[in-house]
C-alpha cells in the first residue's frame, strides 16, 4: 500500500530524512518510532503531499506522491501533530467543511460525516463548538477529520501526545479498531504505544532507519535471546571465561565487561533462541573452575533497541549497562 524508496529530505545543510526505505502492506499498522527530531514528521509530510522530497520515491496506493499528489491526497487521511481544527465551528460543521475539502460527493457527505463522528466517538458532541471541547475530544475531532473521506491510508502524527492516560487508551483502541480496512502509519516516541497498537515498527533516528521489524505482542522482538552472567574468573582470567562460553553450542556472541574493583566480569551472551542454554553455560563455566554468581535470561525488547538508538548520541552512559545487541544489523 505504501512503498518508500531511498526517500531523502534536505533542509539546507541538514538532512532531515536520509535515504529511508520501507513498505507498509494493506491493513497493517506501522509504528514510526524515534526520538524527537528524528525525521518522523518530515517523512509523514512527504507522504501526505505537504512537502516535496529532495530525492527518492514514495508511492501510496500505487500513486507517486510527487507526480500524482492529488490522487494520493484523496486516499490519505492525515492527522498532524496539532489537530487542524477551526475552534469557532461546531464539530459537525467543521467535519462538513473538511468533507467538502476532501471532495466527498455531496450525496454521501452527511453519511460520511456521521460515520466519522461515530468512529471517533464524538457524535454526542456534534453540536458543540470545538473550542469548548476538552483536549481529548479535540484530538478525536482531529481523528474524525482524518476519517471523513474514508481514506485507504491513515497517517497519524503523535496521536496520543498531550492526552491523559484514559484518553490515550481510548485513542489507541480507536486506532486498533480501524486496522484491517485501513492501512495506518502512526508516529510516536512512546514505546508501549508501539507494542500495544502496531503490527510493525520502524525505528528512525537522525533521519535514518535503524530497525524495521514486526512487533510481537509478548514483548519479544527479535529472533535472538540474551543471557546475562556475572562470573568471577578462575585461572586464565576473563579471556578464559570468554572462550569457555563461546565453546557452548548455540552461543552466537559473547561480550564481556569488567566493572572495576569487583574482580568479576559481566558477560552478555547472545544465544540461539530455539534452545535454553543457561544450564549448559553454567555447567561449562563452573566445570572450568570459574565462580558463577548470576545467570539470567534477558530478552531483547523494543526498549533495548530504542535505548540503543537513542543512547548512541551520548557515549558517556554507563558502559556495563548499555545493551549492545547489534539490533540494527
Amino acid at each position: 500500500m505504501i512503498e518508500v524508496d531511498s526517500l531523502t529530505k534536505q533542509y539546507g545543510a541538514v538532512r532531515a530524512v536520509d535515504e529511508i526505505s520501507f513498505r507498509v502492506d494493506k491493513g497493517e499498522i506501522l509504528g514510526f518510532l524515534g526520538p524527537n527530531g528524528a525525521g518522523k514528521t518530515t517523512t509523514m509530510r512527504i507522504l501526505t503531499g505537504f512537502l516535496p522530497a529532495t530525492g527518492g520515491t514514495a508511492r501510496v496506493a500505487g500513486f507517486d506522491v510527487f507526480e500524482k499528489s492529488l490522487e494520493v491526497r484523496k486516499r490519505i487521511g492525515y492527522l498532524p501533530e496539532i489537530p487542524p481544527i477551526y475552534p469557532e465551528l461546531s464539530v459537525q460543521r467543521y467535519l462538513d467543511a473538511v468533507a467538502r475539502l476532501k471532495q466527498v460527493p455531496s450525496d454521501k457527505r452527511k453519511a460520511r460525516v456521521d460515520a466519522a463522528m461515530e468512529m471517533a466517538h464524538v457524535t454526542e458532541k456534534r453540536g458543540e463548538l470545538i473550542k469548548r471541547l476538552s483536549r481529548g475530544y479535540k484530538q478525536r475531532v482531529g481523528l474524525a477529520q482524518a476519517l471523513v473521506h474514508d481514506p485507504e491510508v491513515i497517517i497519524l502524527d503523535e496521536p496520543t501526545v498531550g492526552l491523559d492516560p484514559k484518553q490515550i487508551i481510548e485513542v489507541r483502541h480507536l486506532i486498533k479498531g480501524l486496522a484491517g480496512n485501513h492501512t495506518i502509519i502512526l508516529s510516536t516516541h512512546i514505546l508501549p504505544e508501539v507494542s500495544m497498537t502496531c503490527d510493525r515498527v520502524v525505528i528512525i533516528n537522525q533521519g535514518k532507519i535503524v530497525a524495521n521489524m514486526p512487533v510481537n505482542p509478548t514483548g519479544q522482538e527479535r529472533g535472538s535471546e540474551l543471557v546475562m552472567a556475572e562470573i568471577k574468573p578462575g585461572s586464565g582470567g576473563a579471556q578464559a571465561v570468554k572462550s569457555v562460553i563461546e565453546r557452548v553450542a548455540g552461543v552466537k556472541r559473547v561480550i564481556l565487561a569488567a566493572p572495576e574493583g569487583t574482580g568479576r566480569v559481566q558477560a552478555k551472551i547472545e544465544c540461539d533462541p530455539a534452545r535454553d542454554l543457561r544450564s549448559r553455560i553454567a555447567a561449562e563455566v563452573v566445570g572450568q573452575g570459574h565462580e558463577l554468581f548470576e545467570l539470567r535470561a534477558s530478552r531483547v525488547s523494543l526498549e533495548d533497541i530504542f535505548l540503543q538508538v537513542t543512547t548512541q548520541e551520548g557515549p558517556g552512559t554507563a558502559p556495563a549497562e548499555t545493551t549492545s545487541t547489534g539490533a540494527g544489523e
Binding site: Y11, G12, V14, A16, R45, T48, G49, F50, L51, P52, L70, E71, R73, K74, I76, Y78, P80, E81, I82, P83, P84, I85, Y86, P87, E88, L89, R93, A97, V98, R100, L101, K102, Q103, Q145
Partner: protein, 263 residues
C-alpha cells in the same frame, strides 16, 4: 471548481462565526455614514452660500450637489478602505498557519491555486457584503436630486470601489501569507497601505517632477479617481486587474514556498 467552492464555503462559515467580520463591516459602515453625512452637509452649505451670492449679484447659479457628494464620498471611501482592508485580510493565511489548518488545506485533494482563489473569493464576498449597504445612501441622494443624475455614475463609482478593494484584498492576503501572526500581518499590511496613501499625497504635491510622474503611475488612489467621476477607463481597469493578478500570483508563490521551508 468544486475545490474553490469548498474553500470559499469554509471561509464564509468562519467569517460569520468570528467577530472580525462584524467589527470590520461595522467600522466601515460607521465611517462611511459619518463621512457621507459630513460631505453632504458641506456641499449643502456651499450650495446655499453660492445661491445667496448668485441672488445678490444676479449671476447665474449652477452647482452639481450629487456629483460633488459622490466624488467626495468615493474619494474618502478609498482612504477608509486602506484602514479597513487590513482587518479583513490579516488573518487570512497567518491564522491558518498558526493553527496548523494550512496543513489540512494543503494536504486536501485540491490545488494551491484553488486554495488561493477560494480564499480570495471569500474575502471579496465579505467585502461586498460590507461595502454595498453604503450604496443605499447614494440611492437616496440620487432620488432626492433634481434633476436625477444618471445611474451609471453610481455604477462606475462602485466599480471603482470594488476594483480598489479587490486589489487591496489581494495584496493584503499575500502579506498575510508571509507570517504566522495575524497582528504582524495586520501591521505590515497597514504600513504598506499607508505608503500607498502617502504616495497619493506626493502625487498631489509634486506633479510635474519625475518623482511625481512615477508616483502618479503607481498611486492606487489616483487610479480610482476617474471612476468617481463616472469614467470607466480601460487603462485603470488594466491597472487594477494587474494588481489583483499580481497579488494572487504572489500568494500562490508564497504557498509554494511553505512547502519548501522548514516548518
Amino acid at each position: 471548481m468544486k475545490g474553490i467552492y469548498a474553500v470559499f464555503r469554509k471561509e464564509m462559515s468562519l467569517y460569520f462565526v468570528s467577530p472580525i467580520a462584524y467589527v470590520a463591516a461595522g467600522a466601515y459602515l460607521f465611517l462611511a455614514g459619518i463621512f457621507f453625512q459630513g460631505i453632504l452637509a458641506e456641499a449643502n452649505d456651499y450650495a446655499m452660500r453660492a445661491a445667496m451670492q448668485a441672488m445678490q449679484f444676479g449671476t447665474p447659479f449652477e452647482i452639481d450637489i450629487p456629483g460633488e457628494v459622490m466624488r467626495g464620498f468615493f474619494g474618502v471611501t478609498g482612504t477608509i478602505l486602506l484602514f479597513v482592508v487590513p482587518m479583513l485580510t490579516m488573518g487570512s493565511y497567518a491564522e491558518e498557519k498558526r493553527r496548523g489548518t494550512m496543513e489540512l488545506l494543503m494536504t486536501s485533494p485540491i490545488t494551491d491555486l484553488q486554495i488561493v482563489l477560494g480564499k480570495y473569493l471569500g474575502v471579496l464576498t465579505l467585502f461586498l457584503i460590507m461595502v454595498l449597504p453604503s450604496a443605499l445612501q447614494m440611492v437616496i441622494l440620487f432620488r432626492a436630486s433634481d434633476p436625477m443624475p444618471p445611474w451609471r455614475l453610481l455604477l462606475s463609482g462602485y466599480i471603482g470601489v470594488i476594483l480598489l478593494g479587490g486589489s487591496l484584498l489581494a495584496l493584503g492576503q499575500f502579506l498575510s501569507s508571509l507570517t504566522e501572526s495575524q497582528i504582524v500581518a495586520g501591521i505590515w499590511t497597514f504600513l504598506v497601505f499607508l505608503m500607498l496613501w502617502v504616495l497619493d499625497f506626493i502625487v498631489r504635491g509634486g506633479s510635474g517632477s519625475v518623482v511625481g510622474a512615477v508616483a502618479q503611475y503607481i498611486s492606487i488612489l489616483r487610479h480610482n479617481t476617474d471612476f468617481t467621476r463616472g469614467v470607466v477607463d480601460s487603462s485603470n481597469l488594466i491597472y487594477f486587474a494587474t494588481l489583483i493578478v499580481l497579488g494572487l500570483f504572489l500568494t500562490l508563490r508564497s504557498l509554494d514556498s511553505m512547502r519548501w521551508r522548514r516548518a
